[in-house]
């Protein structure tokens, strides 16, 4: 099983963006829709809320993910035991402050040899929702071997 490695996640906490970033992305967002690819079935569950929080800070933008009581700096990946360490993290906020893109790699679970190569992007829509996609590709022995896409929609959580 994967272990929670908070130290390894620390590098992802501070995202260097201009202090004058627009307010659009700031706040806490609750996942309300997650579908596979072009499918229409919504896998997001109200009883297992997934939150993304973005906050402006003097040094840049901080981001955090939270699921079922377990939280970690974003970007991160969740296992049954909680967030796991990710590597090769790159985060690129949109210049207008209304979006962000992250790329990272999830190391194989113990006993396995499959890396996850993940790209996430989110953008605040005109009606103040957060939409985005998570592209997960499989890398095995240096070769990409397929993947999948989640399409996500978040709503802004009031008071947070």
């Amino acid at each position: 099983m994967r272990a929670f490695v908070p130290a390894a996640l620390a590098a992802a906490v501070l995202l260097l963006v201009p202090p004058a970033v627009a307010a659009g992305l700031d706040g806490t967002w609750v996942l309300e829709r997650q579908v596979y690819g072009e499918g229409e079935h919504n896998f997001a569950r109200a009883d297992r809320p997934f939150r993304l929080s973005f906050r402006r800070a003097p040094a840049g933008l901080s981001a955090r993910a939270e699921r079922e009581g377990a939280g970690a700096p974003w970007p991160c990946w969740f296992s049954p035991e909680g967030p796991v360490a990710v590597e090769d993290v790159r985060v690129v906020p949109a210049p207008d402050g209304r979006g962000v893109t992250a790329a990272y790699r999830v190391p194989p679970a113990p006993g396995d040899d499959t890396w996850l190569v993940v790209t996430e992007w989110y953008r605040v829509t005109d009606d103040d929702r957060l939409e985005g996609e998570v592209h997960v590709r499989f890398e095995r022995r240096g070769v990409l071997r397929g993947g999948f896409t989640w399409r996500r929609t978040f709503r802004r959580e009031a008071g947070r």
Binding site: M1, E40, H41, T114, R145, G146
Partner: protein, 707 residues
């Protein structure tokens, strides 16, 4: 709670007749005639004796166990090998075909389910033991993330269950090498397996090139996932999704038939599909489309596997997962599905253990003791059902349409190595073969396989051909058709009806081609289960799949048709059809003997009194008049069809004493010209022969037109 709607098959009868009292460390089962083809021995289904059964493997205590026996009068066989790892091999009786590997689910509340084995569902591969004896098995695990063994729970390693099956095979035959191709690619669907990717073993082209000895396929989930309708689906959404499923079936027919014909010594296994969206205990929001169509999809998978020219087995993953849901308490799926990151689709470790067991059983794998999934020291109920091929029917008519050209079409009416030569194009050209006999009333069809033996001449570039069957000559849904679970099946794909650039309205790979084997130099035989729509059971709880009727066999057509996605006209390739046929599997009633000692006297008023020996067991009689001049001049019997003949069906008869009966034919029913007269009787709905000609040949049964 389960969502309302159509549940899946629940056959309490599945639970009877397979349990034998067994001493410790026994492998036992029964070989039986599976009269309804459901893989379960129902009351009254007779034993098959004299069937050769072999068990071969390694004892935990050391040494090889290798025994062969024959089933007894009761169809039973048993071995006492002790703890260890083994493969069972049941030799197919000539002319018989294994039925499904227990497609049914388990009755709700059934005691005895033990994770991860549940109900064992043996498949019966054909070559695996022999290939192991040869010393080497290359095992290719194809498909999607399920074959990959992936989930968001990170609790199994890549290709875990395939590695487990590989290791079990190594256990059975330690001296053999068993190499696993970890070929599956996450997220792929059936179309992907038909794309010739030279860097990728996850397609039929490379597997054929490798000549793998064992191929397991877990696919189709993404076909469904990427086209699923919304929770309150519109008819348009349902039509789109149904079209994709039907196309997936055609893809799988092309995938499996190509593997079968191009790798002569390979065993192939296809997983059925569990579907958490159909039985979503956890979320309680089962999707209506999935609930209604999952049983359809799984039947598609079973049919496409069952109908191949050589046995393809199913790992009944669906049925075992379905049992879990039947508990109605969400204790089943919850323990088997990964919910991390709202995955909600992939099995976690528990679920993959189920898949491992089902794949193993589909290979007729048997472990006893610690190596078994539940540590069972004995396995009984290793039953194998069979259906007999009772008749092969050939067409008697043909039609060329839309500019197709055909030479010697009647040569497709028998298997003789000479064929009907068909020239198509890139439009809608087609040649149809029809006129399959419907008069063999002693035959009780249970399942039907449609086959074609063909080759090509010239060079097939991208103007392709398809071969398809239809029960009524309607090969596609009419425009605007509203697909429903009981109204979707218009044709049976045989060759080339899928492909990665289909369906035309939504091509996945528009530049790809249709056929795995476009140019066929030597005769190639491809078969498929002939399919039609299911019906809803009386209580609406499940689908029923009625067998083909004789009348439907009579209206079935097989067509060779141009594929309208080709681009380059003009080359000279031809499809040469040695024969098309229908293999009817089922039962054969005894035919009554001919009605004898027929005498005819004139009755008052110009009628006739016909007297004949009573036919034992007959519940009705027919009188046929035929044209004597036509018989004399043309050698044709005409008694079944007007205006030349006149069938009088179910005539009124009365005892005539001394074991004879008589009927009086009114003058109005007596033909005016010179006629011959025949009498037949029906016993158990089987009509007696209409007599024999001077050479001893039975008079044509096509003229026996009375029902």
């Amino acid at each position: 709670m389960r969502a309302p709607g159509i549940a899946f098959l629940v056959l309490a009868a599945a639970l009877v007749a397979t349990s034998l009292p067994a001493p410790a460390q026994q492998v036992a089962g029964v070989v039986f005639r599976d009269d309804d083809g459901d893989g379960v021995r129902d009351p009254g289904e007779p034993a098959l004796s004299g069937v050769t059964v072999r068990l071969r493997g390694q004892r935990d205590a050391g040494g090889t166990f290798d025994e062969t026996t024959a089933t007894g009068e009761d169809g039973a066989f048993s071995f006492a090998p002790g703890d260890g790892c083994y493969l069972l091999h049941v030799e197919d009786p000539p002319g018989w075909r294994r039925t499904l590997a227990r497609a049914d689910g388990r009755a709700q509340g059934t005691p005895g389910y033990v994770h991860p084995v549940g109900l064992r569902r043996f498949g019966g591969v054909r070559y695996l033991l022999a290939n192991l004896e040869e010393g080497h098995v290359r095992y290719t695990s194809m498909g999607d993330s399920i074959a990959w063994n992936w989930n968001n729970c990170f609790d199994t390693s890549s290709f875990w269950y395939s590695k487990q099956v590989r290791d079990r095979l190594r256990c059975v035959f330690p001296s053999a090498t068993v190499d696993l191709d970890e070929a599956a690619v996450k997220g792929q669907h059936t179309d992907d397996l038909l794309v010739d990717d030279h860097d990728d073993m996850n397609n039929v082209f490379r597997v054929i090139e490798a000549q793998s000895e064992l191929v397991t396929v877990s696919i189709i989930g993404n076909d469904l996932l990427n086209n699923e309708p919304s929770s309150n689906p519109t008819q348009d959404e349902i039509n789109t999704a149904a079209a994709e499923l039907i196309d997936s079936r055609a893809n799988l027919q092309e995938i499996l038939s190509s593997l079968v014909s191009e790798i002569p010594g390979a065993d192939i296994e296809l997983n059925t599909l569990y579907d958490n969206l159909a039985w979503n205990c956890s979320a309680g929001d089962s999707e209506p489309f999935h609930v209604q169509w999952l049983p359809i999809l799984n039947r598609m998978l079973r049919d496409v596997a069952w109908g191949q020219a050589r046995r393809v087995t199913n790992a009944e993953v669906f049925a075992e997962f379905a049992h879990e849901d039947l508990a109605d308490e969400c204790t089943g799926f919850e323990d088997q599905i990964c919910h991390v990151l709202d995955d909600d689709i992939h099995p976690k470790d528990n679920g993959y253990h189920v898949i491992r067991e089902k794949v193993w059983e589909s290979l007729d794998g048997v472990n006893l003791g610690p190596k078994d999934g539940i540590g069972a020291g004995s396995i009984t109920g290793a039953d194998h059902g069979y259906l007999e091929r009772v008749i092969r029917l050939f067409p008697s008519g043909w039609e060329a349409r839309n500019g197709a050209e055909v030479t010697d079409p009647e040569k497709a009416f028998e298997l003789d190595g000479e064929g009907a030569s068909i020239r198509l194009g890139i439009g809608e050209e087609e040649v149809r073969f029809r006129g399959f006999p419907d008069w063999y009333d002693e035959i009780v069809p249970v399942r039907v396989i449609v086959g074609v033996r063909y080759r090509t001449t010239g060079t097939v570039t991208d103007d392709f051909y398809r071969v398809e069957a239809s029960r009524n000559g309607v090969f596609r849904a009419p425009p605007g058709h509203a697909f429903r679970p009981t109204d979707w099946d218009f044709y049976t794909p045989i060759v080339g009806s899928g492909g990665p650039n289909m369906p035309p309205e939504d091509p996945d790979y528009p530049e790809m081609k249709l056929l795995v084997v476009p140019n066929v130099a030597d005769w190639r035989e491809v078969t498929a289960t002939l399919t039609k729509n299911p019906v809803l059971s009386g209580d609406g709880s499940h689908y029923e799949w009625p067998p083909f009727t004789r009348e439907e066999l009579g209206t079935t057509e097989v067509r060779v048709v141009a594929a309208p996605v080709a681009k380059t006209p003009g080359d000279d390739f031809r499809v040469v059809v040695d024969a098309a046929w229908l293999d009817v599997y089922g039962l054969r009633k005894e035919r009554p003997p001919e009605v004898t000692n027929v005498t005819v006297e004139k009755a008052d008023g110009g009628g006739l009194v016909v007297t004949f020996d009573e036919l034992a067991g007959a519940d009705r009689y027919d009188v046929y008049f035929g044209s004597l001049p036509v018989l004399h001049d043309e050698g044709r019997y005409t008694h079944g069809h007007e205006p030349e003949g006149k069938p009088l069906c179910d005539v009124a008869t009365e005892p005539a004493g001394a074991g004879r009966r008589r009927t009086t034919i009114p003058a109005d029913d007596v033909p005016s010209g010179s006629s011959y007269l025949l009498v037949t009787g029906h016993v158990d709905d089987v009509e007696s022969p209409a007599g024999y000609d001077s050479s001893g040949a039975e008079r044509p049964r096509s003229e026996a037109t009375c029902p």
